[in-house]
Symmetry: C3
Amino acid sequence: MPSSLSLAAEPDRLLPAEPGVRAIARDLLSLVDSLPIISPHGHVDAAVLAQDTPFPDPATLLVTPDHYVVRLIHASGVPLDRLNQGPIANADPRSVWREFCKAWPLFEGTASGYWIRSEFEHVFKLDQEISEATADSTFDALQSRLSEPAFRPRQLFSDFNIEVLATTDDPLDDLQHHAAIAADSTFRGRVVPTFRPDAYINIAHPSWVENVDRLIGTAGDGAAGYAGYIRAMENRRRYFVEHGAVSADHGVRTPLTLKLDRSDAEKLFTRARCGEWTPEDRDVFEAHMMYEMARMSVQDGLVMTIHPGSYRNHHLPSFEKFGGDTGHDIPFPVSYTEAIRPLLQDFGTAQDFHLVLFTLDETVFSRELAPLAGFYPSVYIGAPWWFLDAPDAMLRFRSAITETAGFSRSSGFIDDTRAFCSIPARHDASRRIEASFLARLVAEHRISPARAEELIVDVVDRAPRRVFKL
Amino acid sequence: MPSSLSLAAEPDRLLPAEPGVRAIARDLLSLVDSLPIISPHGHVDAAVLAQDTPFPDPATLLVTPDHYVVRLIHASGVPLDRLNQGPIANADPRSVWREFCKAWPLFEGTASGYWIRSEFEHVFKLDQEISEATADSTFDALQSRLSEPAFRPRQLFSDFNIEVLATTDDPLDDLQHHAAIAADSTFRGRVVPTFRPDAYINIAHPSWVENVDRLIGTAGDGAAGYAGYIRAMENRRRYFVEHGAVSADHGVRTPLTLKLDRSDAEKLFTRARCGEWTPEDRDVFEAHMMYEMARMSVQDGLVMTIHPGSYRNHHLPSFEKFGGDTGHDIPFPVSYTEAIRPLLQDFGTAQDFHLVLFTLDETVFSRELAPLAGFYPSVYIGAPWWFLDAPDAMLRFRSAITETAGFSRSSGFIDDTRAFCSIPARHDASRRIEASFLARLVAEHRISPARAEELIVDVVDRAPRRVFKL
Amino acid sequence: MPSSLSLAAEPDRLLPAEPGVRAIARDLLSLVDSLPIISPHGHVDAAVLAQDTPFPDPATLLVTPDHYVVRLIHASGVPLDRLNQGPIANADPRSVWREFCKAWPLFEGTASGYWIRSEFEHVFKLDQEISEATADSTFDALQSRLSEPAFRPRQLFSDFNIEVLATTDDPLDDLQHHAAIAADSTFRGRVVPTFRPDAYINIAHPSWVENVDRLIGTAGDGAAGYAGYIRAMENRRRYFVEHGAVSADHGVRTPLTLKLDRSDAEKLFTRARCGEWTPEDRDVFEAHMMYEMARMSVQDGLVMTIHPGSYRNHHLPSFEKFGGDTGHDIPFPVSYTEAIRPLLQDFGTAQDFHLVLFTLDETVFSRELAPLAGFYPSVYIGAPWWFLDAPDAMLRFRSAITETAGFSRSSGFIDDTRAFCSIPARHDASRRIEASFLARLVAEHRISPARAEELIVDVVDRAPRRVFKL
């Protein structure tokens, strides 16, 4: 049996067990483990960095905002209110932390468990095991750390060696925090906004009509109706570009795309504003707007990222009580092949258009994404994320796509996280897995050691810069 | 090359080849290889244990009732009647055995081959190789064993170290054999019935009307129609609970669930009893009854297990001649996410409700089951079974679910077998694979050795007790 | 790090990294690496062998006709006309070669990269690395080789140790080249045609009406309409059988099969000839004709191979400019279970009927193909091909099917290639992977060394002969 050294401190963690392959992986990893972090998509709040607000407490930092963590504690029988979810959250953070500590053994083998353990070891240098018995003492230890200057967001940003961090933002956000960060010469990181117009495109969104009214009123250049809507989208995208945005992100229900006639689109838009629409209208309008968003991306250069296939807020009673993003978005089957075709007919070979396709349905990797990205210059294969940004899943991803599409057609790692302190652990895990995959190919004489050394740098560092135009 | 030692006697069989990982796996296996067998779902006939009837002959014990074995011999060109399938089975068991021996090389690499080889080695201590040439002598050797007292069902039950064995039973079964076993102080095993109402729920079942008439007449408390039907279901479930049942099992066509209005359900039920129904009615009624079954499970505590997605009796000519369960149930694609939602809205967080979701479509593991069980306290991930209860498939299963749902959300091994003598081999294989999977995580520093030692006991022993309330 | 020996010359290339497993794999490989090549399905032009025409130049031989290669270069941003695709191809082959050399690094980790590297090493003994810098010198070196007698098609055929090579042919092809080859006693290879009637069955094919007119006129025995059509199909199949064909191949849109009434089929056929058909008619007629083709196969003995599930010519602008087979056929989800049932009801157990089912959707392997082939004597599991004939994908295939269906129910390797010089590399890779998979099972004590030695010969050599009646 291996020693009981802290797992997160193990230099060979996540690397393949076979000693020969592990040695190769270790060498490859050494080429990238100190490279800066490029995070082209995530959910950290720019205000946190602009204002450099200290993090309040361990539970509010590490548990409450992290769906991955909340959901598994909930599955063990803890109601969401005891995890401070939703608008009426008023539990004592210490009691939330106790729930987490009690549930900690459930995280063995999970990606979240790996990240959190890494944070304790590498960020917080916590010297106690997490357990029900140590709930209070670990809370206190972490709370004490968080009050130190070294644990302020900007210092962590710097210590984490983050070069670029993209946030995710409402189209009408004034991006003041991004502007403040950019204007602040004492802060060297690059924090860029991302245009995320879902709530203005999904006509089933509870406040869609209100959102659209505000959008047209704010940025429609005086035009009304559909014309004003499209104009406003273009204007706000330009505003985002001017504030450093490199991509527009789309969380859609299905991968469908459609090119409606202008007049059909107008009619549908008008009907929807009156609240007269069917579920099919919903999908059709979203599909049409994906076509429009692609058209705008071809013009303004924003990289387009799409991630369909999640049934949002699956448990209605929880949604009604606690709101969205509380751990019950559940994937369903997806197929891009026919659905994305209308968009690709017109933009699949468009100059400098980058379209990154994500999936939560692994079957799509070998069947569709590798073949699509292996032909269309515009298409890039989105890295495995959400439930799939875990060691085994990332290895399955590389195995599924590489033999068809090679290494040049994938997006590079996407951390997609709200959990700021988990960013280094996530990128570290990804780099270890890339090294592991390449090491196997080297050991099987499928790639030369010299090329593997180039490729590890390419997939970790150059791919996200290239794909996201950074 | 390794030696030609009998494979089934190899202490390291099924363990990973890499010596370091194998050593860890061996240590983990040693913690569970002598634990009792918990079998919460299977198809052994309780009468066999109640009456302790000697097994008739090797073919009737090992070949005829085992679809896994029959189907592959059939695929090699042997008609089903030569394998004693169906009501008119009248082939000489010895000739069936010859067909099996001739086909034996086809089983290399299959799960069935592994189990049977284990039975020969560990149960029957057979000292000859199976081959066309040894068909008669192996038949005689096994026949001779089966006449010994040591090979009577109860003695084997005890030698197999089975603690709990669940059978699968018709709702109107009087469970006399279970009662007899429970009343017999000379027999220490626990043999519990399972409520399996498919033939009373699937309105396309050839004898559904007759079944329902009998059900209402027997247990409807005098109520007629749908009210009597529901009442009778509740009553028979209670009868099963009183006889030790812990679960109700549902082999449904699709994973659909629906909550019909009482009056709609009544109308549909009434129409179906008159034989006036469409294929859609069939699915809708089954979906509604799954909702009702969940409601009853919340009340009476029976664990609910669902296994959709098999096209039953795929080859109609074979079905017409030989009946069901003759090897041609073929899986098709399944998605739980939207289908199971109506049930989960109302019962997904119900106190002490346990819902075990099985699948024959592996894509569901990472895409749906791990996310569902990682949020809903009621949902457990059914172990891979049927075509998937094999070493590689079980490893794919653990890899697919663990990073999202950890180890606490799966059901524990399910042998689901009619082949009584294969039970030890099946559980042994499962334990070896659990040890193999955990050993890899230990070797990759993803789980500590100490936690792996706890987890192997948990997944082998505690999980089935916890999930099936044993 | 391993040495920088040329990868393609590494004796252990593709074999597993773990030394013990590798040693077993090496021993198994030694039993098959000099066996002759059996290629029961591919796209080499018989004229090339009949006329023994020298290959014109490296680009026209290795790049232009190979979709795998063209598509990935296109994805990197090179327009198809610069790769000499389509009717107006008029780029200088040397400039095509330069594009290839520039794009060569993109092929790292791909199956195509592996094959091409093998060709350079083993066929052309090229002693320079491919790179932008060596584009001209490698072009010249290869061009010089191609002018030598040793690089004429027949000599290569012999040097490649090909025993049987099947081509893919139009039903109205006169098969003169096959006849010439068969009549030529100086050539010892067996080159057999394959009946491929897609363009006569798919009513959406641009020249379907014209094709059908020619078919009926040529081979309808004077009968008109549907009767003449069916008669002509039967006659042309017989003609193919007489010229050595062993199989009929069907590239269909979906796996659907249907048995239409004769009169319904006639009506549909007649409507389609008048151009009056819907997309549904298209699928229905194709489904019906698959039933008819199976019926004919039962009569004339041609092995039936089906490969559905590819969206052909996905990028319409590229298709309109460059024609079909230019790298943008994209797979979509497929399910055989219900779709193939009508055909299997009537022919699933027919004497000597062989039906090989291929898929580009990997989910079908464990869910459907292994269960189907594990029951129906007529069904064989098609080897992974197209995007899936690569090392990792082939290992996933074996892992997915073997535990249910063993080794006897799969087709043996299919190279399916237009790239004549890649044939040895493709079969070599397949043999290495078969050895790797079996070696793991031996190392895990799941198969004995002695049986593995038999199985490697069976899957490499006997399976294709058995399944394709060679």
